[in-house]
Amino acid sequence: MTAQPNPRPLFSGNREANGLSYYGAPTRPLYWSVWRELWENRSIYIAPLIVAAVQVVGFAISAIGLAERRRGVLLLEPAKQRALIEQPYDLAAMMMIFTMFIVGVFYCLDALHGERRDRSILFWKSLPVSDLTTVLSKALIPLAVLPVISFALVVCVQVIMMLETSVVLIFHGMSPATTWTLIPFFQNWATLLYGLAVIAIWHAPIYGWLLLVSGWARRATFLWAVLPLIAIQIFEKITFGTSYFGLFIKHRVMGFAPNAFDFRGHANPTIDSLAQLTPGKYLSSPGLWIGLVVAVAFLAAAVRLRRYRGPL
């Protein structure tokens, strides 16, 4: 990006009074471009909202037999009590993270393709918004907007679940305090926030790749994004009898976990204390930085490509 030769004035003056042929109102292209994405792709918040609603309703229905189950749970040793009571809350968070990933993938596949398909790219390009700003605004959806939405919804869902539990337990003459005391909500939310950030930046090259394909392919963006990866795996298997590429893909999807968290050798990965979060180890893992470099390269290619691209 080249610098603007004449920085425009920050405050608009009276055009007639000062005789200038132009006035400059302060603009926020990136901010408004992100809004633009939310207006166009309402699935960004509607899909997580539906998942949240399903979770709340589903949990409410399951609460029918809650009092009975809770009595049984309270007979167990404290560690198991906590694990069992916490389980549906963890499940809600996991489902939301999974939803976020799916929505992010399909959003990215359409992000730079849709504007070419409906010819609106001609309108967007008639405004003083650079290709860099446009591509960045689209990359920010899976990297920042979706994690924030997911976090907010998980917190809401878990609070509602806790209230549902409390009401049912009080109704059955039991103390709801077992839920509040056994589940460290604020600690879990801190872990969730950390986890969402970890996953977003670990997955950055995936989103970068999908954005690049959506800017490049004339049609069938999903196939163009996925088939080459499958083809390489098949080729590798047939030619060398190995499956390193498959492991590499798996590592890119799931590999954040062993670096960002210390599961203390548990087979069933659980996070019981904030000491299990290992941001230092995560930030010093080469996989993260290689991924980020690749993501930047993909996004730079997508920016360059958009310059050449017109309507389909």
């Binding site: 603009t27 408004w32 008639s126 650079s130 700003t133």
Partner: protein, 285 residues
């Protein structure tokens, strides 16, 4: 300073030459009509001017290189392609928010004022508007931008005659002043004849004719020749001849007006007639 200046502007798609090294100079305050048959290179020329396509040769628009600084250029240039480019999912109010948020020269109050004269509702989505209303919306947005250059590529395509007339009327009355420049392409030539200050015919990537409308009026004369003078008229070497209701209509370039008046009814040719005359010659060459 010239608003648009091109030297040897050339664009090749594979084996097709879309622009074959054209020279172009559009001064500030002009309304240029770019006329040509389909596939003549009009849209390629406009795309190059708007920074939507790369090119060979030299091109400066408002002193900038469009291909390398499209986003900055668009502060000073507005563009209406045809009515189909506004995103169909957007609401009118969102559109106003967005353009106001990204465009330093957009006057929202002005756009609201233009929209108030139409039946377009703020809460409507573009897909709910008729084609004519979409054109009104786009025009309202563009007229509220204090741009130096406005590029119109078939802006009234598919609109009925009322909307077409209204489109150019608004443009001339509420937008155009001598500090702005407009470049327009259209196949509905007759509707813009009185709007233009300059005329350019383009065919197969080359400029066939380039003149101001004053020159056009001075140079070209059409005569509906009296039957007895047909031979005499033909001797003056018309550039085109056609039959209208059994009468010969001859088009002359650079022939004395008084001399022609003696042969029949003299009148101002339409751009469309001149276009047919010149392009027909091109075809037969």
């Amino acid at each position: 300073m010239a608003c648009i200046e091109a030297r040897g502007l050339r664009k090749v798609y594979g084996t097709t030459i879309a622009l074959d090294g054209i020279d172009l100079r559009v001064k500030e305050g002009r309304i240029l009509g770019l006329i040509g048959p389909n596939g003549a290179g009009k849209t390629t020329a406009l795309d190059a001017i708007l920074g939507l396509t790369s090119y060979e040769g030299e091109l400066k628009v408002l002193g900038r290189d469009p291909w390398n600084s499209r986003d900055q250029l668009m502060c000073d240039v507005s563009f209406i392609a045809d009515v189909a480019v506004l995103p169909r999912w957007i609401r009118v109010s969102q559109m106003l928010d967005y353009v106001a948020g990204v465009h330093p020269r957009f006057d929202r109050a002005k756009a609201e004022g233009f929209l108030a004269k139409t039946t377009i509702k703020r809460a409507s989505k573009v897909r709910q508007l008729s084609k004519g209303m979409v054109a009104q919306l786009h025009l309202a947005l563009v007229m509220a931008i204090d741009a130096k250059l406005l590029v119109l590529d078939e802006p009234t395509l598919g609109l009925d005659i009322l909307y077409r007339k209204q489109f150019y009327d608004s443009l001339l009355n509420d937008y155009f002043d001598r500090s702005r420049t407009i470049v327009v392409t259209t196949h509905q030539v007759e509707e813009i004849q009185d709007v233009l200050t300059d005329l350019m015919f383009i065919d197969r990537g080359r400029i066939v004719l380039e003149c101001s409308m004053e020159e056009f009026d001075a140079r070209y004369v059409e005569v509906m020749v009296h039957p007895e003078h047909v031979e005499a008229a033909r001797a003056l070497k018309p550039i085109h001849e056609r039959l209208v209701f059994g009468r010969n209509v001859l088009l002359f370039d650079h022939v004395d007006r008084d001399q022609l008046a003696a042969l029949g009814d003299v009148r101002r040719p339409s751009i469309a007639d001149l276009f047919v005359a010149l392009m027909g010659k091109e075809e037969s060459r």
